[in-house]
Amino acid sequence: MSRLLAVLLALAAALFTVSLIVGPAAIGPLASLQALFAAGDTPLSLVMQEIRLPRAILATLVGASLGLSGAALQGYLRNPLAEPGLLGISGSAALGAVIAIQTGLAATFPLGLPLSALTGAFAGVLLITLLAGRRGGTLSLILAGIAISALASAMVSLALNLSPNPFATSEIVFWMMGSLADRSMQHVWLALPFVMVGAALLLTLGRPLDAITLGEDAAETLGMRLARVRWQLIVGSALVVGASTAVAGTIGFVGLVVPHLLRPWVGAMPGRLLGASALGGAVMVLAADILVRRVLPEADLKLGVITALIGAPLFLHLIYQTRQELA
């Protein structure tokens, strides 16, 4: 198990480094790494410190967030099809972002969009806690998530529908595809605290999630407090997914595929899957973000498109492999 974590960590570190030395500016790997740590503001070190470093950090944060939250949700709901979008958090964060673009708030200051997206995410969480409540069961949580997602996507469609000009429309559409291009350290500082607190809440769910393998009743008689577990899950997911969506847009399939892929390597234990999925998510998003820049660099491929293009076939393959168990 710890070997798996070590392998994933090494993989993430390697991809993080590759992410730093990949970009449109033709700089040698050594020169770019030197520029990263160099003081002063040569154009080279500016590129490294202001453009590539935040991009690599954000890819790590966003990937870890999605992988972790996906693993936690699958464990809690005892369903391999659960994913971060299920609670309606990414949907409501997207709505917040769209409102910022539509109202021009996004253009007034650089953090206008991510802050508005975060507000959207929190509004979504508030709604879901009101609807699914403290004593609400698993089903009411899922249904509340579906309802909130549907409402948010209807509002996004409304915004697109009423869009004043085609530029705003394409900006919204492109934002929703998810990307890490042109992000700054400001984005990192905005997302980091939320991701840290959320990740701490989710990573400590290992024991209760293991117990929930036996069902909610059995978990409770093993000494777990389910109301608290549910609270921790919702708030933790909201923090990591809300912050990720706010800085990177909606990035699908990471939270669904990564836990699924890693499950056999942790003996299917939901608790052990948490840390592994966080690292695995970082690996997947870092890799996808490198691909985005290497394949068709001039086409401005969006990250969310790539993760879905990798994730969906991978998922199909997994279903093909495990369909006998699923039947």
Binding site: R78, N79, T204, G206, R207, D210, A211, I212, T213, L214, G215, D217, A218, E220, T221, L222, G223, M224, R225, R263, G267, A268, M269, P270, E325
Partner: protein, 253 residues
């Protein structure tokens, strides 16, 4: 004081009273079968005693905090789905959870209890098998082992033998009987009155929201009780194999 003592214990579900003024005390070494028709409140009685659903009145388990309760009583719900393909050993190890600190690796003691529990239900050699690949009889035994590993003096099980073939039903009941012989208390809900009569040391008959009868199987399964609560007539006889029971026919409409 006994492990499980209920007094003036009442439970309502969705505003409808299901059980009223239940009085029940179980002692170490007893294998108590909770019987009664569908909807009599067998599951409800056990879930409420465990604090899984709200109740009124006195329950000895309610005085314990979450941790102590988890070390005092184990619960086997009727739903025997295990969500993930974890190994039998990992499944049984879940029963050690109340005895382990957060994040600690299993101690040698944990491993001993797990191995002992697996041996007790006869699943040696299945330790590394995925639970989801077991037959339903094997899975039931794995879940019993999980409850055993919890090392509680009281075990509650909701219809543990439902859906098993006759051999597995008998061996499961024998496992529970052996546990009771060791001084633990086992309380289980059961529909098979024949197996209940043969293996339980005591039966508690629920009906009309109350405990209708409570005592040795032969006395609880009286002609009168069976007619009034189950609306059936049955054959019950003391034989060289112990009490033999067979339901015969439904009375009236």
């Amino acid at each position: 004081m006994s492990l499980l003592a209920l007094q003036d214990f009442s439970v309502s579900l969705a505003g409808q009273p299901v059980l009223r003024d239940i009085r029940l005390e179980v002692q170490p070494g007893e294998l108590v079968g909770i019987i009664g028709p569908n909807g009599a409140g067998k599951t409800t009685l056990m879930r409420a005693a465990l604090g899984l659903i709200p109740s009124e009145g006195h329950c000895s388990l309610a005085e314990l905090d979450d941790g102590s309760r988890a070390r005092a009583v184990a619960w086997m719900p009727q739903d025997r789905t295990v969500a993930w393909p974890i190994s039998v050993e990992a499944l049984v190890m879940l029963g050690r959870m109340p005895h382990r600190g957060p994040g600690l690796r299993p101690s040698p003691e944990d491993r001993t209890h797990v191995a002992e529990a697996i041996r007790r239900v006869g699943l040696q050699g299945f330790e590394h098998r995925a639970v989801t690949k077991l037959s339903s009889g094997e899975r039931t035994r794995a879940l019993i082992a999980r409850a055993l590993a919890q090392q509680t003096s009281l075990i509650l099980a909701d219809e543990p033998i439902a859906g098993l073939d006759p051999a597995h039903q008998i061996s499961t009941m024998e496992t529970f009987a052996a546990l009771a012989d060791d001084g633990r208390t086992v309380m289980l809900s059961i529909h098979d009155l024949g197996l209940a009569a043969r293996h339980c040391t005591r039966l508690v008959l629920l009906g009309e929201q109350r405990v209708v009868a409570d005592g040795p199987p032969a006395r609880v399964l009286s002609r009168d009780n069976l007619a009034r609560i189950f609306n059936i007539e049955a054959y019950l006889s003391e034989t060289e194999y112990g009490p033999v029971y067979q339901s015969l026919r439904v009375l009236g409409p």
